[in-house]
Symmetry: C2
Subunit: 203 residues, 2 copies
């Protein structure tokens, strides 16, 4: 019987083989980011993702959305605990404030996406960010929703975003990061360039 090494089942050796030194910038695993990029260059199918939500009406303007599974990197991921989101309107819009309203969720989405896009692209360039905050304001004219005008847009007329970046870099580099954040944000591009949405009725 061969003598066992001090490493039970050779765990440490295998771990070292599988996990080369990981480089983190802004707590983003840049090693994983670049190996993902390399993988997708070889196998573009790995880049195909499908994200999903379900919604159940409760009553009035109150409904609940759930996020759980998604498809990505060639497989279904059903490992997450279901995440529930309450949606409602304030009393002035016939609701009871049981959750943020849908157009407010439409600000939460770009806030997360522009932030992550900025951080990830800064990390890829080795730029350390100490703090990052942003605020969002969108204008809506209810005449659209209520069908009182054919010329007023039903959706947001415009959304303004203001970023504050704490980092030891020149202002020009901060401006460049804000441009990168927009260029590569999936949500920003969906809203500013539009996306087709097909709605159909199940039986």
């Amino acid at each position: 019987m061969p003598k066992r090494s001090g490493r039970p089942f050779g765990y440490t050796v295998r771990r070292e083989e599988k996990m080369p030194e990981q480089k983190f910038v802004n707590s983003v695993n840049v090693t994983q980011l670049f190996s993902t990029i390399d993988l997708i260059k070889q196998k573009p199918d790995v880049a195909q993702f499908k994200f999903r939500a379900t919604n159940k009406w409760v009553n009035g303007t109150h409904n609940k959305a759930t996020i759980k599974d998604f498809y990505g990197a060639g497989q279904e991921d059903n490992s997450r605990i279901a995440m529930l989101f309450e949606l409602d309107e304030p009393p002035v819009l016939c609701g009871r404030n049981l959750g943020a309203n849908p157009v407010e969720y439409l600000l939460v989405a770009p806030s997360g996406c522009l932030t992550t896009s900025l951080i990830a692209h800064a990390a890829a360039r080795g730029i350390e960010i100490k703090g990052l905050q942003s605020r969002y304001e969108g204008n809506l004219d209810l005449q659209g929703f209520l069908g009182l005008s054919e010329t007023v847009p039903v959706g947001y007329q415009g959304i303004r975003v203001y970023f504050t970046i704490d980092a030891d870099i020149p202002d020009e580099q901060k401006e460049e990061l804000v441009r990168m954040a927009q260029k590569y944000s999936s949500v920003f591009n969906t809203i500013t360039k539009s996306a087709p949405v097909s709605v159909s009725l199940g039986r």
Copy 2:
């Protein structure tokens, strides 16, 4: 000194004067809905709303958004308790599953808006809805976000929505409700028709 009526401070009378009988359909206060429409017809400025969010980066792909105040019906509303939303990515996208990701929030938003739009317009027509559910799936090709292709859209390539309506109405009327939901949904119209988003850097 005049004799006091049985109604302390005349509360009941005043209440009746201010609050005519309220009609509810699908738990939507249709009386309030129609009086809002009448008010906006006379004073279109009442229809101007501004919704807001703030976002604070935590680390890596993890950030937090907050919804609280808004402007609408001619005044600031700061009465709500702040609502916090966690955003993160799954491990395959360099995150730790500490929240739904931004493109998933971009499905939560239309889910709430199409639902409320359908319910409100059904209520306005006196159509009772017993149950309403919907599901959402959006396709995303990560080559856009990663800058690996100039031709692949960075945003959603398309979103599909499937509604199930439980109501004692013919299928044609259900189809009509699904069309109305789209026509008057603020989020649906923002995504399908686009909205300008300006992003700037604070000092």
